[in-house]
């Protein structure tokens, strides 16, 4: 399997040859920053295109097909258009908080994006409390959304932000607890170690029923966490116009849009990393030839394929289920998912303590 640390080592060596010692680290940091920026932008734009195409196929339409082959350049064109639109400052907004909100939303999603292991040797931040860091960072986004709604001085925004806050903090619990269940199983919080432990079989298969339940709960809570699908009542178009970003225009709005799609990617890749083996190929113990064949497929491709499957499921939710009401939404979380999660955690602990797993 191709190891990306070969590339990074090569870049490091070249830089050391050409540059004085003190500049090497700075250049590397700038390179890392550029990689993050490019990756972030491209993934978000591709996801926007995919979403529109998938949505169109679900509704028997063609979707974007004019700009570029198969409409591939549509979302790029949209982004450039958005860049050249005026940033309207509405009267009576709390100007400081109004401008701060996009920063917080973007910071939260970029930081979460930064600690995902994409492929063998391709990982930026690798804390030994990686999972914990991920949960912590991705919950900062709520603050940005609440600020956006509050500072806009608009009732639609305020209601949207309040709903979004209630929904995201509620489902944050389910995400945290189902990840906690898997941390109990793996015994570590470092994302690279979690992936390495799944070399012989993904946690979804090795963890018996508790892992399966945790995966389903995670998918539901993850969909709610990204304010999508049947849980999109913070920005329910038919009642709140656009929810918390009603007053944002041009690129300001673009950031909320980008962050929403990136959050979907982050949720899908965390599901991939923790339940579906990250970039690890599908290995079945004992089947040597099969395992060797699977190793031929590059790890980055494995990661992207798994994430694509999870993202497709999340999009499928969106175009299949009708929107929930807020009381149904909170009941689903507090009366169903949370008790299920607690019982599931206990089951998983029993599985681990009495060593019933594979």
């Amino acid at each position: 399997m191709f190891d990306f640390s070969v590339v990074t080592k090569w870049v490091d060596m070249m830089l050391r040859q050409w540059l004085p010692e003190s500049w090497v680290l700075t250049t590397e940091f700038v390179l890392i920053g550029l990689c993050v920026l490019v990756g972030y932008a491209i993934i978000a734009l591709v996801l926007i295109y995919v979403e529109r195409k998938v949505c169109a196929f679900f509704q028997c339409r063609l979707g974007p097909n004019r700009v570029g082959p198969y409409g591939l350049l549509q979302s790029f064109a949209d982004m450039f258009k958005m860049l050249t639109k005026e940033l309207i400052e509405v009267n009576h907004v709390d100007r400081f908080l109004f401008n701060l909100a996009p920063y917080i939303v973007i910071i939260s999603s970029v930081l979460a994006f930064g600690c995902i292991p994409f492929a063998k040797g391709l990982e930026i931040i690798d804390f030994n409390v990686g999972v914990f860091f991920l949960i912590a960072v991705s919950s900062i986004g709520i603050v940005g959304i609440l600020l956006a709604g509050w500072s806009s001085n608009n009732k639609y925004s305020l209601i949207g932000a309040m709903r979004s806050g209630a929904q995201m903090i509620s489902y944050e619990l389910s995400i945290g607890l189902s990840i906690l269940t898997m941390v109990v199983f793996s015994g570590t919080m470092q994302l690279s170690t979690i992936v390495a432990e799944q070399a012989d079989g993904w946690f979804l298969f090795r963890g018996h029923i508790p892992a399966l339940i945790a995966f389903v709960v995670y998918l539901i809570a993850g969909t709610a966490e990204t304010n999508r699908g049947p849980f999109d009542l913070p920005e329910a178009d038919s009642e709140l116009t656009a929810g918390y970003h009603t007053e944002y225009s041009g690129m300001h709005f673009g950031f909320f849009y980008l962050a929403e799609y990136l959050n979907m990617f982050v949720v899908a890749s965390v599901a991939t990393t923790i339940f579906l083996g990250g970039w690890m190929p599908l290995h079945i113990p004992g089947w040597e030839a099969f395992n060797a064949a699977m190793d031929w497929i590059p790890s980055l491709l494995w990661f992207i394929a798994k994430v694509a499957v999870v993202i497709f499921i999340i999009m499928w939710f969106k175009w299949t289920f009708p929107r929930l009401r807020i009381d149904q939404l909170l009941r689903l979380e507090w009366k169903y998912l949370l008790p299920i999660n607690l019982v599931n955690l206990l089951l998983m602990v029993l599985v681990v303590v009495f060593e019933l797993h594979f």
């Binding site: 940091f29 890392i32 920053g33 920026l37 972030y40 860049l83 050249t84 005026e86 940033l87 309207i88 509405v90 009267n91 920063y103 973007i106 910071i107 970029v110 930081l111 930064g114 930026i124 931040i125 914990f132 806009s152 001085n153 608009n154 009732k155 639609y156 925004s157 305020l158 309040m162 806050g165 209630a166 903090i169 509620s170 944050e172 619990l173 607890l177 906690l180 941390v183 109990v184 015994g187 570590t188 919080m189 009603t246 041009g250 690129m251 300001h252 950031f255 807020i326 009381d327 909170l330 009941r331 507090w334 949370l338 008790p339 607690l342 955690l345 206990l346 602990v349 681990v352 303590v353």
Partner: protein
């Protein structure tokens, strides 16, 4: 090293927003119109202030969230060492969780989980 990378990614995020907003301010056209600054309200002037008292139901859920989120924070260190602490640790943690579940049951019975 990880901390340095964390700072790098953080600065990248800030740079992304700052650069894109500056670019947008340079590129975008600008026009001044009194109507433009009004809050979006389907063309009708806003009645009253928007910064007002809000439904207390959201606050209740925030409190409940706080309780269970702190629980999750306490459980993470235990989760990493489940194999070492074994059955004794499990009993202690069950004791801890049961107290919190009693709290949830109380809230449930009091009707705090209903949306009114």
């Amino acid at each position: 090293m990880n901390l340095a990378l964390f700072v790098v990614v953080l600065l990248t995020a800030i740079a992304l927003v700052a650069v894109a907003l500056t670019l947008s301010r340079l590129l975008s056209p600008r026009s001044f119109n009194k109507q433009k600054g009004e809050a979006y309200e389907c063309g009708i002037p806003t009645r009253g202030r928007s910064w007002m008292q809000f439904k207390v139901g959201y606050y209740l859920f925030a409190i409940l969230f706080l309780m269970f989120d702190v629980e999750a924070v306490f459980l993470f260190p235990w989760a990493v060492t489940v194999r070492e602490v074994g059955v004794m640790g499990l009993v202690n943690v069950i004791f801890f969780v049961v107290i919190l579940v009693l709290g949830l049951a109380y809230a449930w019975k009091k009707g705090a989980l209903e949306w009114k």
